[in-house]
Amino acid sequence: MLRVIDVSKSFGGLQALKGVSFEVEEGRIHALIGPNGAGKTTMFNIINGFLKPTSGRVEFLGRRISGLPPHRIALMGIARTFQIVRTFPEMSVIENVLAGMGKEIYRSWGVFFKTPWNQENVKKALELLRLCGLEDLKDFAASTLPIGLQRKLEIARALATSPKLLLLDEPASGLNDQETAELAELFRKIRDFGVTILFIEHDMRFTMGVADFVTVLDYGEKIAEGKPKEVSRNPRVIEAYLGTGSEISA
């Protein structure tokens, strides 16, 4: 579904990604892990078009997407959330989701004639909010939500764009144990809706519990990939994590 082909990215003298290739298969829950500064967020930014790769390319559903502006990539079916949450703070919870449902309209004259507040949209928005456990908060301003709920709202907004591939940047960070367990449950529901997930995570227990497939980056290079069990036994992975003091426990 998504193919990252020999992607490099440098910021001035810093090589954040060095010829990374990997593939995300449809229907998977795919994890992208690695120590801090490994280049994971940079990889997301390249996939969804915020950054252009210095070399290499990204293909989605057989078409080259690197070089397209992010709103075009969103239109093609890639949605994302952010490591530092970026909800629309002054909009209400339901408005955040409704705003996410206009990707076709935002690029047409429909922006001047159509309202997001039609029955069908509202129904779908409420379903998404229910899925993410936010239904009771629909009329609150997004900024009033605690961080864990804002993360869920970002997921709901991303799902509102009807994506085929959902990119989640550290969705479990800042969540307590119970919220993390709920998140794993949510991942599976989303996958069952036919949405492929690629997520970045630090929490190893969470990652190993929910992912079907894991790609590991370290210092901008892919050092391992495979099933969670295989990866967690890989000496290079263990070394990378020990080297930074992060624990690894599958």
Binding site: A74, F88, Y106, T115
Partner: protein
């Protein structure tokens, strides 16, 4: 206060309501700072003055062209806004204001420092309106613009605007083209300021470069900020207050800009969302 004088004030107030609502599209809805809004006001006014005085065009045509050309220049200013950073945009808009006024002043075609005089009165079905009639006519446009704002708040356009205002990256990630929506905001804002310019030119019967200078931009900005950025009622209240108060308190006149500076600072410190904004004291008072 004579009745004519009151009608004139009402007309000014109406024109500034349209100006502050149009600036609000840019600042309040789309989050794009502009400190040069009087430039579009001036472009609209000069468009009507030139077309009416030099080309003898009728009122309907000058009105339409003021709106279109105002919108076109809004569009043009929107283009560099796609490239420059936020703080730079502030400077660019100030610069635009000075450039436009300088062009009016130094190009003979625009009448130079003495402006263009002798606009005929606006005629409707062959009849001239008196001062009272013109006040009513401008009020008609205020109603139209308010209805337009209410409409905008309901459609996708506003969601796109809000998205780019609150977070450009998040906006792009849901399919909103940030450049496109900036252009929409600048164009709509410019077109409405052009409308205000037309109304001004025919009210005064003449146009002068200094009527559209930087302090006028600050006046409009103060109206929006005082009343409540991002609301409809706020800019209206701000425009009415700042049109009538200085007239009632004559001694303020000479210190207008100082007063506006103080108002902006005080509002930013104590009422950052404006009197009628989400956290505004007046909004809360009305809710009780």
């Amino acid at each position: 206060m004579t009745l004519d004088y009151l009608y004139t004030l009402i007309t000014f107030s109406n024109i500034f309501i349209i100006l502050s609502l149009s600036l609000n599209v840019l600042i309040g809805y789309a989050g794009q700072v502009s400190l040069g809004h009087a430039a579009f006001f001036g472009i609209g006014a000069y468009t009507s003055a030139v077309l009416a005085v030099k080309f003898g065009l009728g009122y309907g045509t000058t009105l339409l062209l003021s709106v279109l050309i105002g919108g076109f220049f809004g569009f043009l200013l929107g283009l560099p806004s796609l490239r420059v950073r936020h703080d730079f945009l502030v400077l660019a808009t100030i610069g635009l204001n000075f450039v436009v006024v300088a062009l009016f002043k130094y190009i003979d075609f625009f009448g130079g420092p003495y402006g263009i005089i002798g606009l005929p009165a606006a005629k409707f079905f062959g009849k001239e309106l008196g001062t009272g009639g013109y006040a009513l006519y401008t009020a008609f446009w205020v109603v139209i613009v308010i209805l337009l704002m209410i409409y905008i708040e309901k459609i996708y356009l506003r969601y796109g605007f809000e998205a780019i205002r609150e977070n450009e990256d998040a906006a792009e990630s849901i399919g909103v083209s940030v450049p496109l929506f900036k252009i929409y905001a600048f164009t709509i804002s410019g077109a409405l300021a052009g409308l205000a310019g037309n109304l001004w030119a025919y009210q005064m019967g003449m146009v002068f470069p200094d009527d559209f200078s930087f302090p006028v931009s600050i006046t409009i900005l103060t109206m929006v900020v005082l009343g409540g950025v991002g609301t409809i009622s706020g800019p209206i209240l701000g425009a009415v207050l700042l049109t009538f108060l200085p007239e009632l308190l004559r001694f303020i006149q000479d210190y207008r800009l100082l007063l506006y500076g103080i108002i902006i600072v005080i509002v930013m410190m104590y009422q950052p969302s404006g009197l009628l904004g989400r956290q505004g004291i007046l909004r809360k008072a009305f809710k009780r």
